[in-house]
């Protein structure tokens, strides 16, 4: 499903070039739960953003179902993200002025067909049925991350990209979030999660270590 070939990302800094990713080759199959694990600053988030069509690589190719992701126009990549990808971030990034129900509905673009009540159902499944009209500021970190999960799932994307989704959660809530990601994967979705921790190891089909911009064996 996802094929990454000779991927490199270099940032030009005042101190000289910074090689964030070097010679990444990777294949992720449909329905896989992949954990990319590595220390902070090793290039995990950069890899995730590139996989999500958010950050153009310096070199290499990313193939999504045999389409070269970065040969698509910006608008096509935006459409790809809207329909194919769900993002979950460490800092949740919920929109503060929307209720949690509205946050979950945010990816529903005009013309998107979703069953009525899907957002409510998702939130109820995630144990937030009684918080629909609450604002993110009124939720705990665990609850926020579950809202972010629901937002990522609302369009039933084929791929969820999770960047340290448990990084700000206590063990109980972290386990909760991972269980939901696992459930999503069991329904046929693909999950790529980057983390520096080991909590997700038990859930993962595959763990790919990463260090200093390279995938290590």
């Amino acid at each position: 499903m996802i094929r990454v070939e000779q991927l490199c990302k270099t940032y030009l800094t005042k101190q000289g070039p910074l090689y964030a990713l070097q010679d990444i080759n990777l294949t992720i199959g449909l329905g896989e739960f992949v954990v990319v694990r590595g220390p902070s600053g090793c290039g995990k988030s950069t890899l995730l953003l590139i996989l999500g069509g958010m950050l153009r690589p310096s070199a290499g190719e990313i193939w999504m179902r045999d389409r070269s992701l970065y040969s698509l126009s910006r608008a096509e990549r935006a459409r790809f993200r809207a329909t194919e990808v769900g993002f979950v971030f460490q800092m949740f990034h919920l929109v503060p002025y929307l209720t949690i129900l509205e946050n979950v509905k945010l990816p529903l673009h005009p013309g998107t067909t979703t069953e009525p009540g899907k957002a409510q159902q998702l939130l109820m499944d995630l144990g937030l049925g009684d918080r629909l009209t609450h604002r993110p500021a009124e939720l705990s970190a665990g609850e926020k991350q579950r809202v972010a999960l629901a937002r990522a799932m609302i369009n039933q994307p084929s791929l969820i990209l999770a960047d340290e989704p448990t990084g700000n959660l206590d063990p109980q809530h972290a386990a909760d979030v991972l269980a939901h990601l696992r459930a999503y994967q069991r329904q046929g979705g693909t999950v790529v999660m980057v983390t520096h921790g080991v909590q997700a190891d038990a859930m993962a089909d595959r763990i790919i270590p990463m260090n200093q911009g390279r995938l290590t064996p």
Binding site: S45, R74, A75, H93, V95, L108
Partner: protein, 383 residues
């Protein structure tokens, strides 16, 4: 979720920023509306001030001996009173002369006092022109008496004075002016012509130059050229100090309006632009997330520009109300004489509702484009 809902909710959430933007629009619009609403009154007031400076043109017989003219203050020559009517052949679009007053002026000695008698007729305007009178009209058989003359002759309003064997009623004693006019007597032109045995004659036409002339024109040459077409036997003298004062008064009024509005507009645009920029900075994570959720550049730009237009519209409506209220409440106090010209102008509401949102969007354009151009990866990457 549609964009309008998103904008509405964001405005409701970040009330402070939205209120500051609205305030900037309100101030600019209120200033504009107040200026426009009081503009007519201000213009009339300016015209009135200029008019109060008096006539600035003197048309006298061409063969006047100028040294004597300046020494005694009037021409020793006369010309037909019908000369005034010659100006009526000129239309309002071409005439350089406004408000013409036929005068017959002579020095007289009364009870040993040297005085000057002025016979004046009703003012004449070129056809199609309507001007309010610059000088009093004197009924036949009556006199208006200058302050010093009244002192010298011991005259009071309601008294009488015999001139050329005819009794005149003193209908007004004028206030002190500190000029030669304090020794003037004013009478109806017919009475003076009769008394001096100069039937149908005058020795001066007083006039105002039209406001159509700009500073770069050689006004006197233009006036003389036109006068030579109308009255070949007359010449014109321009009272430079009055002309200059009129010009300065006019220029000052024009400058005042042409300076203040652009400055107010500029301040508002910068203010709105700065607020929009802060808003973009504040929302950079949100924008990153919206990008991640598949929002394209157009929708992101519309989030900012749509918000700017909504705030601009609200500000325009409130600004119109405030500006109209200010004009109606304080305008009459500032422009006491021409207060009746101040009234609410509903047509301005249409204009400000159209223009203010566009200007607000324009002021927010660069910040909006910065928001669009922002690389979402920069804010979503923690490494």
């Amino acid at each position: 979720m549609n964009l309008f809902e998103l904008i509405q909710k964001e405005i409701a959430y970040r009330k402070g920023g939205a209120l500051c933007t609205i305030l900037a629009v309100v101030m600019a619009v209120a200033l504009y509306v107040a200026f426009q609403t009081t503009g007519e009154a201000a213009m009339r007031e300016t015209i009135r001030l200029m008019r109060d400076m008096g006539y600035n043109l003197r048309i006298i017989p061409k063969n006047t001996e100028m040294n004597a003219f300046w020494a005694i203050g009037y021409s020793d020559q006369t010309m037909p009173e019908t000369y005034v009517e010659a100006f009526t052949a000129y239309s309002k679009d071409t005439s350089l002369y406004n408000l013409l007053l036929a005068v017959l002026r002579q020095a007289v000695e009364i009870e040993g006092h040297h005085l000057v008698i002025n016979g004046i007729a009703a003012e004449v305007c070129p056809p199609g022109m309507e001007k309010s009178s610059m000088i009093f009209e004197i009924p036949p058989g009556t006199l208006f008496v200058g302050y010093q003359a009244a002192q010298d002759l011991g005259m009071q309003q309601g008294g009488s004075l015999t001139l050329w064997g005819k009794a005149f009623t003193i209908s007004r004693v004028l206030t002190e002016t500190g000029t030669e006019e304090d020794i003037f007597l004013w009478a109806h032109l017919r009475d003076v012509q009769e008394g001096l045995h100069l039937h149908g004659r005058i020795n001066e036409i007083r006039a105002l130059e039209c406001r159509c002339m700009s500073e770069d024109m050689d006004v006197l040459v233009l006036l003389r050229n036109q006068l030579s077409e109308i009255l070949p036997d007359a010449t014109v003298i321009q009272l430079q100090t009055i002309a200059k004062a009129r010009q300065q008064q006019r220029r000052m009024a024009e400058k005042y309006f042409s300076f203040l509005m652009p400055v107010a507009l500029l301040v508002s645009v910068v203010w709105i632009g700065a607020l929009a920029w802060f808003n973009t900075r504040e929302r950079r994570y949100e924008l990153g997330v919206l990008r991640a959720l598949g929002y394209g550049s157009v929708r992101i730009a519309l989030l900012f520009l749509g918000k700017a237009m909504i705030l601009g519209m609200v500000g325009a409506a409130l600004g119109f109300l405030l500006g109209s209220w200010l004009a109606m409440a304080y305008g009459p106090e500032i422009f006491r004489v021409t207060a009746r010209a101040i009234h609410v102008q509903p047509v301005l509401l249409g204009w400000v509702l159209l223009v203010a949102p566009l200007l607000t969007a324009l002021a927010s354009f660069i910040p909006a484009m910065l928001g669009v151009a922002q690389d979402p990866a920069d804010v979503l990457r923690y490494e």
